[in-house]
Amino acid sequence: MFTIKNYVMANTIEDAYRLLQEGKSNAILGGCAFLKLGAKRIGTAIDLSKLNLDQINETEDTIEIGAMTSFRAVETNEALNKYFNGVLPRSVASIIGIQFRSAVTVGASVYSRYGFSDFITALLVLDTEVELFKSGRIPLDQFLQDGAPRDILTKLVIKKSDIKASYQMMRNSAVDYPILNVAISKGAAGWKIAVGARPQRAALAMKAAKLLDSGEPKDADIEAAVNTAVEELTFGSNSRGSKVYREAIAKGLIARGIREVL
């Protein structure tokens, strides 16, 4: 059981950040679905609920998703369903159930860089930047590599475009964690292929994507891209699936995603 010594509703993001730095055991509260599973002894629990971070805003060239936005809000938001073939709503739609998704938050999910994350895989094929209070705005792939220790994720900023995208995943049963997840996109800058839950965190298959960039891919190009993706990314085993199994289904899911976007 995790414990909370002090609970503070932050009045400003500056206050929240200052409190976070005051003690190693202090922590930001997201939706608490993951925190409650652990045994963390939190000194000061910092609540961001009053900071207006639960909004999804469409600007002229971006869509911004606040850190305290729930996955259910992502799933039902009009703009997010309109752009990128609804790849973000589709990515979160299989995570447990609607009442779970009403509780969990975007900020915690991205900040924690979970290997199994459905949402991160989909974000990775869009032009996504992560805004952190201290570290500022950084591209998502850089954040996934480097992290940002003891910072606060405030929002995601996604560039609007006519990117076409697809989301594919496989689970042993509905509402379980994914065995593997894949997102594919095609925009003015070319193709992107992201594979997550390998079980390591999502990464882009850059060489494979390049193979698709010269004109309309034919069956042979798709096959080459799929094989290259499986070679350039590392796959591993855990209780949900072996490395060999993951490599096999990766091929199917990537090919399916590419065909959907074509």
Binding site: M1, F2, T3, I4, K5, N6, Y7, L29, G31, C32, A33, K36, L37, I42, A45, D47, S49, R72, A93, I96, G97, I98, Q99, F100, S102, A103, V104, A174, V175
Partner: protein, 149 residues
């Protein structure tokens, strides 16, 4: 910490621990329909409405319920009975342990979705597990209840 919560349209003052979850608080204050069926956030039994939205009370810190409207099945007896009759008619309830959370989700779905398809119904109800009945009978019953059978 002392908080004021509106439960089933009645203002209640509650004393809560910092790390207490709403499911436990509601039970302490006599809302015994709200139950915990798992430790992980998977089963949906603890579903209540927070400001009308179905939410897991086992993952909602009680302090965060301050000033919110919480609805439990105690306040929806007539509606619950109506759904229950459809479930019984289809042989889709057995021990009934999963019912409080399930009914809260079904009633929310009725408000949120118009003429849902089978897929939309299953998607909405995926987070409510039932160990006894299987889901085919439930789906038949819910479709009849919603008038989309």
């Amino acid at each position: 910490m002392r908080i004021e919560v509106i439960v089933n349209n009645r203002k209640i003052e509650m004393d809560v621990e910092n790390n207490e979850f709403l499911v436990d608080t509601l039970r302490r204050y006599g809302f015994n329909s709200v139950k915990r069926g798992c430790d992980t956030g998977n089963c949906g039994l603890c579903t209540v409405w927070v400001d009308e939205k179905p939410t897991l009370s086992c993952a909602t810190l009680a302090v965060r319920a301050a000033g919110r409207h919480i609805t439990t099945i105690e306040a929806l007896q007539t509606e619950a009975k109506e759904v229950a009759e459809f479930l019984v008619a289809e042989g889709a309830d057995q021990c009934g342990f999963c019912s409080p959370g399930f009914l809260m989700t079904v009633l929310a779905m009725k408000k949120e979705l118009q003429n849902p398809t089978d897929e939309e119904i299953k998607h909405y109800l995926a987070g409510n597990l039932c160990r006894c009945t299987g889901y085919v009978g439930q789906l038949r019953a819910i479709k009849k209840y919603l008038g989309v059978a």
